[in-house]
Amino acid sequence: MRSRGVILEPCHEDGFDRLLLKGTQSVLQSLESMFELEVENSASLLEVVPWDENQAPLQFGDGPFYSVSCGFDGDLAGRAAFVLSEDDFRHLANELMPVLSLMFLSDPGAELTSLEERKPNWMEDTSSALDDEECRAQILDAFSELGNVLVGACTRAIFELTGLRTQHSLPVVEFSHDRSKVDGLLVEGLDSPPMLVVIDNELLIGGRTLRLWSFITLDAVSFERVLESLDSCTERDNFSNLVARSGPKATYADSLAV
């Protein structure tokens, strides 16, 4: 992990490293179990930076993008957003076609014996799937559900690391060319300038590398709570040793087994 504009103690860095490993593991598991995708994580990086309204909008490549975002409250108050470039989203959507086709055809009234008759046009030409209104709705719904599961995995990881409890709101999916929109989503409703946690995951899916950006903002009080909780972490020595030995592919479960 790395940080800018904030000084973190080694135990805090260990904590964020664990969050990265746990979060990445959750992304892979969610993609595999929800969509039956074979996914490899080729690289991942976590960065902690103070939110700066004057800095350039969040950096996640050029061009239009899809985002799924939500808020959370409880012991911690903040926002979360997951972002994919349009190109990467189209590739992911294409990879989802086999599963989504089955989903589409399992609509009420569909008899599994009549799948061939009900086969929609977009199954014949998956490159146009996002241009088909009905199919696009299916894909966006799946992306929203993925966001729901991912933010749940993040809050679960935070709970397991810190004991802090949070509940998230309904996720909202957006397609936009304007990256300042994500800036707005991430500070919406927060009283104080937040701290920003950025997780950049490179995922190898279907022979192509996708970049999934995860942004989590925490208000100042919440960030302090996270640091205080990490201060009392009891597993950090074992975990530090494990990361030093095994590198970033180690999992949190592995750390517990040391």
Binding site: S30, S106, S144, E145, S169
Partner: protein, 120 residues
């Protein structure tokens, strides 16, 4: 084989669950995307078991569960949620759910939970 009502605001989640439970030999007799639809279909179809998502627009799963239990006090309901706070599970069980499943759900876990909840 049990008759099952699936309640989830995500079409993807509803379809995923339907494929899993029908693959396990059960019959999905209704799908609802919110609390109101869930209560209507529960009254109309009288399912043996309900899978109920916790986080939905409008009423949350525990509120819907309360309404279902008002209709049928011994209703068999499996609460499902992608929320990471263990308090949600505690809340669901305290509200009267027979079982709790975290998202993303796995086929084996879903079918085992259904079997367990259906046991007399």
């Amino acid at each position: 084989m049990a008759s099952i009502l699936i309640v989830d605001d995500s079409a993807f989640a509803r379809s995923s669950l339907q494929i899993i439970v029908e693959g396990g030999g059960h019959k999905v007799i209704g799908r609802a995307s919110n609390g109101e639809e869930a209560v209507d279909l529960f009254n109309e179809l009288k399912p043996e078991l309900v899978t109920l998502d916790f986080l939905m627009a409008g009423e949350t799963g525990d509120q819907v569960l309360e309404r279902l239990l008002d209709i049928t006090p011994d209703a068999r309901v499996i609460m499902i949620s992608g929320m990471g706070d263990p308090a949600i599970q505690e809340k669901a069980m305290a509200a009267g759910a027979k079982c709790f499943l975290p998202k993303p759900f796995k086929k084996g876990e879903v079918l085992n939970s259904i079997d367990r909840v259906l046991q007399p």
